[in-house]
């Protein structure tokens, strides 16, 4: 087996739309691979197909050399999934969330206990072990979900927008943990994100998706160098101004902030 993930002409069609429309890519062992794209680009759908949660309409997809069409149980024991929406169990406390989850992987009870302590240590939630899930902050929840996805020592970690909605410090912290995992455990990481900075920080290679297709692929800093001019202007609390729009600059409004980029990225 040569690649961690190999996708050929992947298509996923829902009733009237092609959520993923003929994409091919590979993910190498031990690398961090990012899928970048805006809302509705098809990132989650792609990840759900890799996680065997969504049957392919057409195409070929193999994970660790196993075909998703007939080896889904085996594949799901090799991957750890961090979904876009938090789905921790609110009926259980922090520690129980891990222990109960470990049963689905048939991890022996004693090993699970040790692994659980180890992971709570790793994500620095040891003092919160007996806390209820709703008492955790957004960042803590995210870290706990990442820990949960690591219980069974997966070969591949799938993260669907791991840091969306978190503050810069927490994002930084999660990035460091992910980078540490990749280096020390030789984990293959596939993550989806809206943010170029996240992709640039973590990924060795990336694809950019739009409307179910791959529009750009390559190495993050080269893509940025090629496609995006370094100059950007950010004007905060600009409610009283109109957003300037010309051909030469890309302008965008986010809440009350206006963003101006020197050149349209060609994506």
């Amino acid at each position: 087996m040569n690649f961690a993930i190999e996708a050929k002409n992947l298509v996923k069609r829902f009733a009237d739309i092609a959520a993923v429309n003929d994409i091919s890519f590979i993910v190498k062992h031990g690398e961090t691979f990012a899928i970048l794209g805006e809302n509705g680009a098809g990132k989650s759908t792609t990840m759900r197909m890799i996680a065997c949660r969504s049957p392919l309409t057409t195409g070929e997809l193999s994970v660790e050399g196993l075909n998703v069409k007939n080896a889904d149980r085996r594949i799901r024991s090799l991957i750890g999934v961090v979904p876009q929406e938090n789905n921790l169990d609110p009926d259980l406390n922090v520690r129980e969330n891990l222990l109960v989850y470990s049963r689905y992987f048939r991890i022996h009870k004693e090993i699970a206990q040790t692994r659980c302590d180890e992971l709570l240590e790793f994500i620095r939630l040891k003092e919160k072990a007996n806390a209820k899930v709703e008492q955790l902050s957004g960042g803590m929840k995210r870290r706990l979900i990442i820990a949960r996805a690591l219980l069974h020592r997966p070969k591949i970690l799938l993260l669907d927008e791991p840091t969306t909605g978190l503050d810069p410090n927490v994002r930084q912290e999660i990035w460091e943990k992910l980078e540490e995992l990749r280096r020390t455990e030789n984990l293959t990481i596939v993550l989806s994100t809206h943010y170029m900075d996240e992709a640039e920080k973590l990924a060795q290679r990336l694809i950019v998706m739009a409307h179910g297709r791959i529009v750009v692929e390559g190495v993050p800093h080269e893509i940025i160098k090629d496609k995006v001019k370094k100059f950007a202007l950010e004007i905060r609390e600009a409610d009283s101004f109109n957003l300037r729009q010309t051909d030469k600059i890309l302008s965008q409004k986010r809440g009350s902030t206006h963003l101006y980029f020197a050149k349209l990225p060609k994506i």
Binding site: P83, D89, L92, R106
Partner: protein
């Protein structure tokens, strides 16, 4: 085309079952209030209230003996149906518990089966609390009384399967109202509170088609020791319906969750 039931992995289902039992044990005090309070008041209402009006024997039994099976089955089956509709819907939609589980090697069929055997377990636990009440109120006169748990188990499988299948098709929680309206209407036909022989002929046929009728009839046979040949047919019918609805539930959950 293979049967969904054949894809069940019992170890995986058991892991799902244990998740639910863990939550239940944490909340056991609140969970046990209903199965004790409800039947007591049902006994008061039907046994003493309605029973006082019924002076003649019903199927050769006093009304209190007759109605015991109804109270027992009603409480136990209600528990299962609520667990597999609102309970399952909460876990599936609001808490995304199913999503989390399906990210592990556990497949949709084992998940659904784990949920159903959990609902059955809850019914059985309730049954253990209600049976003594049934004895105290004088509705159980036979040594076969403990056997009444068997038809109840199958009743729970059939209604749990039905409930979970419906849940898998519900995208808006208010749709349960339609299901419950139908379900409650049938409950009054199934021979819990009066013998179905009192109904006009065509309604009797309807009543016999509703599997709950068989559950209650078999329960009554166990509580009173009056067995008859029809109970064999009823058992077979209940068994077949249980398997069919179980299969439907597993398929529906896969269709909903793996898309």
């Amino acid at each position: 085309m293979s049967l969904a039931i054949s894809k069940i992995d019992l170890t995986d289902s058991c892991a799902v079952w244990r998740r639910n039992s863990r939550v239940y044990l944490r909340l056991w005090k609140t969970e046990l209030v209903a199965p004790i309070i409800e039947p007591i008041f049902t006994f008061f209402a039907f046994g003493f209230g309605v029973g006082a009006l019924v002076t003649s024997d019903v199927e050769g039994l006093s009304y209190l003996s007759f109605v015991g099976a109804g109270v027992l089955a009603f409480t136990v089956l209600m528990r299962t149906i609520f667990e597999m509709t609102y309970g399952a819907y909460f876990r599936m939609v609001y808490q995304s518990t199913y999503d989390a589980i399906l990210a592990t090697p556990v497949n949709a069929e084992s998940l659904a089966f784990g949920e159903i055997i959990w609902a059955v377990t809850k019914g059985v636990v309730d049954c253990l609390f209600i049976l003594p009440l049934v004895v105290i109120f004088g509705s159980a006169t036979s040594l076969f009384t403990p056997l009444s748990i068997l038809p109840l188990i199958f009743g729970c499988i059939y209604l749990g399967g039905l409930g979970l299948a419906i849940t898998a098709h519900v995208y808006e929680i208010d749709y349960f109202n339609i299901f419950f309206a139908l379900f409650f209407s049938t409950l009054f036909l199934c021979g819990a509170w009066f013998p179905i022989e009192m109904l006009p002929g065509w309604l009797q046929i309807v009543a016999f088609i509703i599997p709950t009728t068989s559950v209650i009839d078999l329960c009554r046979a166990c509580l009173t020791g009056n067995f008859a040949v029809k109970h064999i047919y009823e058992s077979i019918y209940l068994l077949i319906i249980s398997v069919l609805l179980l299969e439907w539930a597993l398929r529906s959950i896969r269709k909903r969750m793996v898309a």
